[in-house]
């Protein structure tokens, strides 16, 4: 997967896949394909989430530290 897939697009595709599987008769071969894609997308999202959380935490920590510095 290239970096070009955005988290929001990934979530959308994932939701579509899950919906499709749940509501339609898909051939077993397709199912396997779809599940593979879903598994990939989930991984992608988790990565994105993980990265974002790391970044956010770092920014928040910075902000907090600053205000703590000033407060103390």
């Amino acid at each position: 997967m290239t970096k070009s897939i955005k988290y929001s697009q990934a979530i959308e595709e994932l939701e579509n896949i899950v919906n499709d599987i749940e509501n339609e008769n898909i051939s077993l071969d397709d199912l396997t394909e779809k599940l593979k894609r879903a598994s990939f997308l989930i991984k992608t999202c988790k990565k994105a989430l993980f990265n974002t959380e790391k970044e956010v935490n770092s920014i928040l920590n910075e902000m907090n530290e600053e205000s703590n510095e000033e407060d103390t």
Binding site: I11, I21, L35, K46, L60, N64, S67
Partner: protein
């Protein structure tokens, strides 16, 4: 001369009369009558009054009486003592007498006793009659209504030159220390007894004729005791006194009851001395009025001038005091104004300083407060962003996890793991035996491995 005629001698007759009368009237009798004539003989001391009874002034009965000298003195004294008058003509008396007949002197009453109180009553009746008559004729108060001159300096005197009263009167006037101009003319008259009424009345008439020359009439009598005063009760004299245009002053001088003339006189002073003093008093009154005026003039003129002096002093005192006060007050006022201006100006500056420093203080405090407010605002934003961001990440995480779970449940591998298998016929998943018939070849997918079978029965 006839034979059968019986002739008596006078003596026989008179003796017979005498014996009849003495036999018939052998007692004494109380009789009332008026004395017509007294017929008193001082030498012998006997008295032979003629007594009468009158009706409408006409004699209806008359008889001669005898009062023997030995009785007369006693009777007359007693009478005088009680009545204030001696027995005299015109007096009504009540007496006790025996009746006697004397061959020579004829019939007479022998008076042995006289009742004086009867006469007294008769006189009082007469006096009351005079008073009543005067009152009926509106004369009773008439003389009193005259106004006496302020200075009665011309006095008409009715008196007798020889009377003690007149002399007393003159003595008082002449010996009085202040020689007031009091002039007096004597009009002589009899002042008591029967003739008094006539003479006094005549002189009153004479004086009234020339009333312009006199200021007052004085009837003066004195030294005659209390006897013979009932002439002053006579209507005739009283009327003349009452109608006189001049004020009549009486000084008749006695101690018994007031006579009618005294009652109606302008002034009754009783004694001639009092009359003199009364007249002098008028002059004295006038004199003392003058003296009072003089004294008052002397005292009050000086007082007036002195009062005015004090008034002026007082006015000047007020003016000068107020002037000085006013200047002092103005000085004080200006000093006050100065003090006020000073205090108020300094107060104004002080007040301005205070309000300026109040403003400064507010300015000093406000920005710091504002900065604190802003700082806490920023901290609030910081915290909000922190928590909201974390919350959003958590939500996303949850979302992904849910999707992962759902995906995993859809994966058949999980079912196969627990011993289930998938049956395919013609590469299609079958869920019912209806879609196969015996003899069909079916493919079974297990958790591990696949197998192909042929259906024997159904």
């Amino acid at each position: 001369m006839k034979e059968d005629r019986r002739v008596f001698s006078l003596i026989e007759i008179t003796q017979s009369l005498r014996s009849v009368i003495e036999r018939k009237y052998n007692s004494t009798y109380w009789i009332k009558a008026e004395i017509a004539k007294l017929n008193f003989y001082p030498r012998s001391g006997h008295c032979y009054p003629e007594i009468v009874e009158k009706v409408n002034n006409k004699v209806q009965a008359q008889i001669r009486c005898t009062i023997w000298g030995s009785n007369y003195q006693k009777i007359n004294e007693e009478f005088l003592k009680t009545v204030g008058e001696p027995l005299k003509e015109g007096t009504n008396i009540l007496f006790r007498a025996s009746i006697s007949f004397h061959p020579v002197y004829g019939l007479s009453l022998n008076i042995v006793e006289v009742e004086p109180s009867f006469t007294l009553g008769e006189m009082a009746r007469e006096k009351q009659k005079t008073i009543n008559k005067l009152q009926e004729e509106n004369l009773y108060e008439k003389n009193k209504k005259n106004v006496i001159a302020l200075l009665p300096s011309r006095i008409a005197i009715i008196s007798v030159e020889t009377s003690k009263g007149y002399n007393d009167f003159l003595k008082i006037l002449n010996n009085y220390p202040r020689k007031f101009s009091i002039k007096h003319n004597l009009f002589p008259a009899i002042l008591q007894g029967e003739k008094a009424v006539e003479t006094v009345t005549a002189q009153l008439r004479e004086i009234n004729k020339q009333s312009d020359n006199f200021d007052a009439i004085a009837i003066i009598r004195g030294g005659g005791g209390d006897i013979g005063l009932n002439c002053y009760d006579s209507y005739q004299m009283a009327k003349e006194v009452a109608t006189s245009p001049l004020p009549v002053i009486t000084g008749i001088g006695h101690s018994t009851n007031e006579t009618v003339v005294e009652m109606i006189a302008w002034e009754n002073k009783i004694t001639p001395t009092d009359v003199a003093y009364f007249i002098i008093q008028k002059f004295e009154d006038f004199y003392s009025r003058l003296e009072k005026c003089k004294k008052s003039l002397i005292f009050n003129s000086e007082k007036y001038v002195n009062n005015e002096k004090n008034t002026i002093k007082h006015l000047w005192g007020i003016i000068s005091a107020h002037t000085s006060n006013k200047i002092q007050y103005q000085q004080y006022h200006i000093t006050n104004i100065y003090k006020n201006i000073k205090n108020k100006s300094l107060e104004l500056i002080k007040h301005q300083k205070t309000s300026l420093s109040n403003i400064a203080e507010k300015i000093l405090q406000s920005p710091v407060k504002q900065i604190y407010g802003r700082q806490s605002e920023l901290i609030l934003y910081n915290k909000l962003i922190n928590s909201l961001t974390k919350k959003q990440i958590k939500i996303e995480k949850d979302k992904v996890n849910i999707l992962k779970n759902r995906t995993e449940q859809l994966n058949p591998e999980k079912v196969l793991e627990r011993g289930y298998s998938i049956t395919l016929c013609n590469n299609k998943r079958i869920t019912s035996t209806d879609s196969v018939k015996p003899g069909d070849t079916i493919k079974t997918i297990l958790h591990k491995g696949k197998m192909t079978s042929i259906i024997k029965t159904k």
